[in-house]
């Protein structure tokens, strides 16, 4: 199912985070969302991932309207939010959360969790409390927690921000491996242009609460149509 957001506006106490933003995300495609701080990327991601409702406008997954089918659609989604979002439980329990929500039986759950921990090099951290992790480890747990349910739609908000190259590679590889098996739809917010080129089929450029340009990755970097996009990806201040 393609994800379609039409005319989404969202305000927080008077701050307009999204301004009549419309965008379509094609099924099976990996999309990167780029844009300056405060341009509404995280807000767009939360609304597209059905975490928050839009202030106004419509979100739909295929023929499903999010407003009516949130509960069902959320079962197909996995999300890694930016910042510190782990539950204050062990690494194991964090990763098991989505499977418990889906009422998976204990044995199957145990197997899935340990496989997922292994693919993010976390096997030896299973019993550790989430508060005791380094930021790289914590971020890997957040990714494991989102991937373990095998979501059809994966949303990642700055999944490798402030991580070293090794941790970044572990995360990107885990995503790549899963994607080689099943072509899930991925939306990644990132400030890393190299990462964008590595992981994204398409790129969305956000500016002041709107998607101002959207195209295949090569085109965005080689011949951006919008002047703001051009300046942004070339590291020239736009605001």
């Amino acid at each position: 199912m393609n994800i379609v957001l039409s005319n989404i506006s969202k305000s927080y106490n008077g701050t307009r985070a999204l301004r009549e933003c419309s965008v379509a995300i094609e099924k099976g495609i990996s999309t990167a969302v780029i844009g300056p701080n405060g341009s509404g990327k995280s807000t767009l991601l939360r609304i597209a991932a059905l975490i928050e409702g839009p202030g106004s406008g419509k979100v739909s997954y295929g023929e499903f309207r999010s407003a009516d089918d949130v509960k069902k659609l959320r079962q197909l989604i996995g999300v890694v939010l930016s910042g510190d979002t782990l539950f204050n439980d062990s690494v194991y329990d964090n990763v098991a959360y989505g499977l418990k929500i889906r009422k998976m039986n204990k044995n199957e759950l145990r197997g899935k969790v340990s496989d997922m921990l292994a693919s993010l090099s976390l096997s030896d951290k299973a019993g550790k409390h989430a508060m005791e992790l380094s930021s790289g480890e914590a971020q890997r747990v957040a990714v494991a927690r989102a991937l373990v349910t095998e979501p059809e739609y994966l949303f990642l908000d700055e999944p490798t921000a402030s991580l070293d190259p090794l941790n970044t590679e572990i995360i990107e590889n885990a995503l790549q491996e899963i994607r080689a098996l099943r072509r899930m739809t991925i939306v990644t917010v990132t400030h890393n242009m190299f990462q964008t080129k590595r992981i994204a089929d398409r790129v969305m450029m956000m500016y002041e609460g709107k998607v101002i340009e959207e195209n295949i990755t090569g085109a965005i970097f080689d011949s951006p149509e919008n002047e703001i996009t051009r300046r942004f990806i070339n590291g020239i201040m736009v605001y």
Binding site: I51, G78, H129, A146
Partner: protein
């Protein structure tokens, strides 16, 4: 001096032989306080959640009232409840005065503000990202709310322990509405407060020791629980 030693010795005898009057008083105390804490926790945690995350009329007023009432003098609660429950009062027809039920009500009123205010403080400290994360992993709105409460569980459990500590140790309210009737509404604190000079000195000391032990157990349990968290 000799009398004191004798009484302490007798007190230990009561404890070791599990004196039946003493056991009756201890179990009534525990029964009343635990019942009160169950009701107060249920109401307090739900109220705290609503105050933290829902639109509630007069929210600021309710929160500051709960904070103020954390230090409510038990005798005042006892007096007000007495006036309500006494024969001529508005709830007199329920015939609850001088029953364990009246004592439970008094202790609920004493524990509720503590549990509500402390739970509220730990719930508002949970960042929205935790609720977002739960929803992003497939939780329904209700399941996400549970994730938030779970995230705040250490503070909430501390609030319940604090409430239990307060009602176990309190004497004024249960004395006024319970009446310290032997074998019916006589609890540890009222026995200690009223019986020490009526030839029940040994019993008062024995109960004092037990009360201290219970407080010690409660507090060490709480301490170990919190240490587990902040290790």
């Amino acid at each position: 001096m000799e009398r004191l030693f004798y009484s302490i010795k007798e007190a230990f005898r009561l404890i070791i032989t599990l004196d039946s009057e003493m056991l009756g008083i201890v179990s009534l105390s525990l029964g009343v306080s635990i019942a009160a804490i169950c009701f107060a926790s249920l109401a307090g945690i739900v109220l705290a959640y609503a105050l933290a995350f829902r639109k509630v009329p007069l929210k600021a007023f309710v929160v500051s009232t709960m904070n103020t009432f954390m230090g409510l003098p038990p005798v005042v609660v006892g007096l007000v409840l007495y006036l309500l429950l006494s024969r001529s009062g508005p709830m007199g027809f329920m015939k609850l005065l001088y029953t364990p039920y009246a004592m439970v009500i008094a202790q609920v009123l004493l524990a509720l503000p503590i549990i509500t205010a402390m739970s509220h403080a730990s719930l508002v400290a949970v960042r929205p990202a935790i609720k977002y994360a739960a929803k992003g992993l497939g939780a329904s709105d209700a399941q996400a709310s549970i994730a938030v409460v779970r995230y705040a569980r250490y503070g909430i459990i501390s609030s319940v322990m604090a409430g239990l500590g307060r009602v176990m140790a309190e004497v004024g309210a249960v004395l006024i509405v319970g009446g310290n009737i032997a074998g019916y509404t006589r609890v540890m604190t009222t026995t200690i407060a009223l019986e020490y000079d009526k030839g029940n000195f040994e019993l008062a000391i024995a109960l004092g020791i037990i009360l201290l032990l219970i407080a010690l157990i409660l507090n060490s349990a709480l301490y170990m629980y919190q240490r587990k968290v902040y290790r």
